[in-house]
Amino acid sequence: MFTIILALTILLEASSATIPLTLILLLIYAVYKNDLNVLFLGFFSGIFLDIVRLETVGVTSLYFVLLLSLVLMYKRKFETESSYYILIFSFSGVLLFSVLKGLNAPFIYAVLSAILAFLIYKTFIPKQERGGLTWQQK
């Protein structure tokens, strides 16, 4: 199911949207599942995105792999609830991505992406399945 949604976001980004939906989705998946396979998903998504946007193949996949590795490596070091972790990573990740891609108004993209990622995570991930330590648990 996640792979189908990921494929749809790639096509959406290729045809209609400049907001990095694929990156947002991968970030949510990385935080939620904490699974190494997300690096491979990021790698292949990046390759497809570069091909359909007629950009240099490998640039987006390299960025995705590096960012998702950071998310996986440092998730447990931040003793905070995962939704805030998503907020921070999606903001900084998309900001840097937008600057690298030369998009107009990268700050707006970053803010919107962070809000979107936060809302998706809060809405679709059940509370008991969200990783990290909540304030109550602490």
Binding site: I51, G58, M73
Partner: protein, 265 residues
């Protein structure tokens, strides 16, 4: 997750990515890219059509917009006729650009901030190198300039819009009231257009039409002269500056473009 597990995978995928970047720059991946694009392009078109929002405008407003575009084209055509030999023009009844040089293309991708509503960053067309499309070819919609081809694959090409920040070309403004002309450079500002580098001694007024000056190279890339870029909406002229500039409004709604033409000759 432990770093021990992540680092080898990270290193492995990073190295492959770097290898792909090198191969892509050397254009050794064209066959693989073309194969993937051949499969994905029809899906792109389907997704894009889902976002082609038809705004329910007042019918009189729509008619006025069409009439405005038609009048703009007529004004340009009449200017061309004046500068050419009248007898020759009458004999052949030339229209500009000639339809023999135009290759119709469908927009299969136009990513924007809000799909179907905001101005796209670039366009992806369903015509490529196999159809004779090369880098630098101008893309038009009627006589209005849309942009130029900046990348091609076998069956697909990428168009840089004139509103793109990296876009700049020489142009001239024309007044149809008193025949004034001024030369300058049109630059994209992301979402808008600016006609700059115009000498202070020249006169620019809102309502003046800006046309391409023509910069076609020996290879046939670049813009033909007299393609419509836009209309001046405001002028910024300060005596302390070296040049004056003006804001332009393109007659094209880039977010609603679905069919365009590539000037191939």
């Amino acid at each position: 997750m432990r770093k021990k597990k992540i680092l080898p995978v990270l290193l492995f995928l990073s190295l492959i990515s770097l290898g792909l970047i090198a191969l892509s720059i050397l254009q050794k991946l064209n066959f693989a890219e073309n194969s993937v694009l051949a499969v994905l392009t029809p899906f792109q078109r389907v997704i894009l059509s889902a976002f082609e929002i038809k705004i329910n405008e007042d019918s009189s407003l729509t008619e006025l917009k069409k009439e405005n575009q038609m009048l703009l084209k007529k004004l340009t055509d009449s200017s061309l006729l004046e500068s050419e030999n009248n007898a020759l023009s009458d004999q052949f009844e030339t229209s500009y650009p000639s339809s023999h040089n135009l290759l119709p293309a469908k927009v299969v991708g136009s990513p924007g901030f809000i799909p179907g509503v905001s101005e796209p960053s670039y366009l992806i067309l369903d015509r490529g190198a196999k159809d004779g499309v090369n880098i630098g070819k101008a893309v038009v919609s009627e006589a209005n300039l849309v942009g130029k081809v900046i990348l091609t694959r076998a069956n697909i090409s990428k168009v840089q819009l004139i509103t793109d920040k990296a876009s700049s070309f020489t142009a001239r403004s024309v007044s149809y009231d008193d025949g004034r002309e001024a030369t300058g450079i049109v630059r994209g500002e992301g979402l808008s257009l600016v006609f700059g580098n115009v000498l202070l001694s020249e006169v620019l007024k809102p309502g003046d039409i800006v046309l391409t000056k023509g910069d076609v190279t020996e290879e046939g890339s670049g813009f033909l002269p007299n393609l419509i870029v836009g209309k001046i909406v405001s002028v910024d002229k300060k005596s302390s500056d070296l040049f004056q500039k003006a804001k332009l409004e393109s007659p094209i709604d880039f977010s609603q473009l679905s069919d365009v033409f590539i000037i191939i000759k």
